[in-house]
């Protein structure tokens, strides 16, 4: 009696095995096909030349490097995180990379194409101070609603401090980011309503000499 039961169970199990295999096989194949179909071709060189402030040669160099790294033509967030992890090995750069990715991904489709990449770089390297400040504001404004709240700023600050890692001098304390955010808000938030708008931000930065001076630092990166 028991033996019969055992045999039946074994038989069913074997059937299940084969059944499962056949059933699941097709789905996985289709899934894979879908993923690999993503490939992006950028707009023409002339268009990009018109839209950005890079010369033709610079665009060529940029694209060659970009295409080498990402043959599919787009960068996804994981790659961003990897790259930043290599630049800042002591700490955890993933959070900041996430914010940065969102800042570059202007159309919010989850991947940064070459156009996004080059537009961002154009602003950062060849843009006016105003444009750079707007870009920075965009970076801090996580939910892109036009206001920087203390929580958003705190997130950004923590992300930046995370990149430093543990071994710093002087030793990083828990409340350092918070204190930094307080200082920032004191400076920027003129009407003390707890949020920083874009106008407050730009005004404040333009009045700060240090910030103005340092805006020109990175112009000759490329």
């Amino acid at each position: 009696m028991i033996a019969v039961l055992v045999v039946v169970v074994v038989f069913v199990k074997v059937l299940e095995q084969f059944g499962l295999l056949e059933a699941g096989y097709d789905d996985s194949v289709e899934d894979e096909l879908e993923l690999s179909a993503v490939r992006h071709r950028p707009e023409g060189l002339e268009q990009l030349e018109a839209q950005t402030r890079f010369s033709r040669k610079e665009l060529q160099i940029l694209y060659r490097g970009f295409k080498n790294e990402c043959p599919s033509g787009v960068v996804n967030e994981e790659t961003f995180k990897d790259i930043y992890a290599q630049f800042f090995p002591q700490g955890d750069a993933s959070t900041y990379a996430h914010f940065l990715f969102n800042a570059f991904d202007t159309d919010h489709n989850g991947s940064v194409s070459f156009e996004d990449f080059v537009m961002g770089l154009s602003i950062l390297l060849r843009g006016t101070v105003q444009e750079k400040l707007i870009w920075a504001f965009n970076l801090y404004d996580i939910n892109k609603d036009g206001y920087i709240t203390k929580e958003e700023m705190l997130d950004i600050m923590k992300a930046i401090y995370d990149m430093m890692g543990k071994c710093t001098y002087p030793v990083l304390k828990e409340e350092t980011p918070r204190q930094h955010v307080e200082v920032f808000f004191q400076k920027m938030d003129k009407n003390k309503d707890g949020v920083v708008t874009i106008d407050e931000f730009i005004d404040c930065c333009q009045n700060d000499e240090n910030i103005m001076r340092s805006m020109h630092l990175f112009e000759n990166v490329l």
Binding site: A3, K57, Q60, N68, F87, K132, F184, V221
Partner: protein, 638 residues
């Protein structure tokens, strides 16, 4: 840093603008970048194949040859390209590394050639990509093992007897390598014979013989001819004991020797006899005594010193220990499971043979190994079902680790075969190399002769002088300079041997001659004459049949020619010394024909089981005066 990172650095720096409004302190000044930003195409010519690449591509890895300023050394201004005189096939892979950031290892290339190219271009092999890393590592390990084996083989077998070895060392060497002397060989054969005799005696002892008069039952021969067997046993044990004690005496490290497997086997083989002698004829212990006699069968393992195949088998089993362990473990698990199941399945039936679970073990083992004796058979349906499942699973479980063991055995066996092949080829190679060297030495002597003769008669020698290349001229001039520096001259071997003879006979030539530099080093280290004198003495002892140990360069050199009574003409014109000492080199004193006894299937009396490279038996025959012809006959070792 990886290529990817280098490309993204400008981006990361640009993105640092995002920190500026938050900065607590002022930012530092950026580094001044003087290099031109524009990209240019570089031309790299590798043995005629032109490669073109962006300068940026090569700059990605600044610590390699192509990425640093080192490549400027290879720049050719006339053709405006970088020229490398290397393999273009390999360069393709190198360049792909720069382009893609991943280094691949081409499987069809030789691992050493690849390593050399990597070393030349300054690339560390560790960055080989994951896809090819395993293959690279495997090939590299194989190569290293091969090299290690070869050097080990060379050292083990070719080291001639150190000049001042004690008798103990000589004895040990004789045991390890029976081809070194006749005595060792004789001893080796004798022990082999006695092992066989002992084993056969053990076996025959139990065969039933005709009963003697007055008895009906068949007696085993061991009882009938008790005295004869006892004498034979005694003789064998005496020989074995003697051998064991000699080995113990000769062993360089007694503790290590006593711990080795072969010595344990020896002890186990002879112990029962002594214990039997010592023990009284007691009823109680005779049972134990009978058990001890079983250990006599271990004598058969002594054959492993004589057979390489046995050693390989033992080594294989040792190296497959994990697979064997897995086999055993899984078998044990399966046995326990199935035995339990069968026992409970058959519990109800009357007269069932499955009396307990341990009793079912036997059934399970017999079924799993598909033996199926049929002494225990299930009767119930459940029992039969589980019995069939048991036999099916047995086939599976046993079939799984077996291929692993087989492949291990095959690998080790082939390695051994390869070692033997290498040794045989090595000798031919060495002979050819020696001939080539002799050729150059003779060429130099010819050159000198031409020059001295050429002073008198310029016409006939002009031709031969011209036929030599500039390289030869310069080389010969160099050798000549060396001669003048050391105030010695190069000669050939015949005159050298003559001079040695004169020195040993008692004449002292004021100039010692050195052999041509290539051959001279080894000979001069031991001094030509003392060795020769000893060799002659040894030869007289050994009655002129000496087996030659393998591959030793100088031994083959010195043993292999006869002197001629005519002094060679090349010397006479050059020697300032009075060498009209007519050297009475007695031919018989010099090397006679050396023929070694055909050696047995290649074995060394090893102490341990791992296969030491075994010497290839060779028969070296001496032919005419200075011709170096070897005929090596390889007897397969298994």
């Amino acid at each position: 840093m990886a290529a990817g990172v280098a490309t993204w650095l400008p981006f990361a720096r640009a993105a640092a603008v995002g920190w500026l409004p938050l900065a607590k302190k002022t930012m530092p000044k950026p580094p001044v970048d003087n290099s031109s930003r524009s990209d240019e195409i570089l031309y790299v010519n590798v043995s005629g194949v032109r490669f073109q690449t962006w300068k940026n591509t090569l700059d990605r890895y600044p610590d390699t040859l192509l990425g640093s300023s080192e490549k400027e050394f290879f720049y050719n201004e006339d053709t405006q390209e970088y020229f490398f005189d290397r393999d273009p096939e390999m360069f393709r892979h190198i360049l792909n590394f720069y382009r893609t950031g991943k280094l691949h290892y081409p499987r069809h290339e030789c691992i050493q050639a690849f390593d050399e190219e990597l070393a030349f271009y300054g690339i560390v092999p560790e960055i080989i990509g994951d896809c090819c890393m395993e293959e690279y590592r495997d090939r590299k390990k194989e190569n290293q093992e091969r090299l290690a084996e070869d050097t080990e083989a060379n050292e083990a077998n070719d080291a001639p007897l150190p000049p001042h070895s004690t008798s103990r060392e000589r004895l040990w060497r004789a045991f390890e390598n029976p081809h070194t002397s006749t005595m060792a060989l004789v001893f080796y054969y004798v022990t082999g014979f006695f092992i066989a005799v002992s084993v056969i005696a053990n076996v025959v002892e139990t065969v039933p013989c005709q009963p003697p008069k007055g008895m009906v039952k068949d007696l085993p021969c061991g009882v009938k001819y008790q005295l004869a067997f006892f004498c034979m046993d005694t003789a064998c044990v005496l020989i074995f004991t003697f051998e064991y004690l000699m080995r113990l005496f000769a062993a360089p490290s007694r503790c290590k020797f006593m711990r080795s497997v072969m010595s344990v086997i020896d002890v186990v083989a002879i112990m029962p006899y002594y214990i039997g002698l010592v023990m009284p004829e007691n009823e109680d212990v005779s049972g134990a005594f009978v058990t001890l006699r079983v250990f006599r069968v271990f004598r058969i393992f002594k054959f492993s010193r004589h057979s390489q195949g046995l050693r390989i088998l033992g080594y294989t089993l040792k190296s497959c220990a994990s697979e064997l362990g897995f086999l055993l473990f899984s078998l044990t698990m399966a046995i326990i499971i199935f035995a339990t199941v069968m026992f409970y399945a058959e519990k109800g039936t009357k007269g069932s043979t499955f009396t307990s679970i341990p009793a079912s073990f036997w059934y399970t083992i017999v079924t799993m190994t598909t033996l199926g004796y049929g002494d225990m058979v299930p009767n119930t349906i459940a029992g039969k079902i589980f019995g069939s499942i048991c036999s099916l699973s047995g086939v599976l479980v046993i079939a799984l680790p077996v291929p692993v063991i087989v492949s291990n055995f095959s690998r080790i066996y082939h390695q051994n075969q390869r070692a033997d092949k290498m040794r045989a080829q090595q000798k031919v190679r060495l002979a050819r190399i020696r001939m080539a060297k002799k050729g150059t030495a003779n060429a130099f002597l010819q050159y000198k002769e031409d020059h001295t003769l050429g002073d008198r008669d310029s016409d006939s020698t002009a031709l031969c002088v011209k036929n030599r290349s500039a390289f030869e001229h310069q080389h010969n001039h160099l050798l000549h300079c060396l001669e003048k520096t050391t105030n010695h001259e190069f000669t050939d071997e015949m005159t050298y041997s003559e001079l040695c003879m004169t020195e040993s006979v008692g004449f002292r030539t004021s100039r010692s001659t050195s052999l041509s530099s290539q051959q001279g080093a080894q000979n001069n280290s031991t001094g030509c004459c003392p060795r020769r004198a000893r060799r002659r003495a040894a030869m007289r002892l050994a009655n002129s049949t000496v087996s030659v140990s393998r591959g030793s360069v100088q031994e083959l050199d010195t043993l292999q020619f006869k002197t001629t009574s005519i002094p060679p003409q090349t010397r006479s014109s050059l020697n300032a010394q009075p060498d009209d000492l007519k050297l009475n080199c007695g031919d018989q004193d010099f090397t006679a024909a050396i023929i070694s006894i055909p050696t047995p299937p290649a074995n060394t009396p090893d102490e341990s089981l791992p296969p030491s490279p075994t010497p290839v038996p060779g028969i070296l025959r001496n032919t005419r005066a200075t011709a170096y012809t070897h005929e090596t006959v390889k007897i397969s070792s298994l």
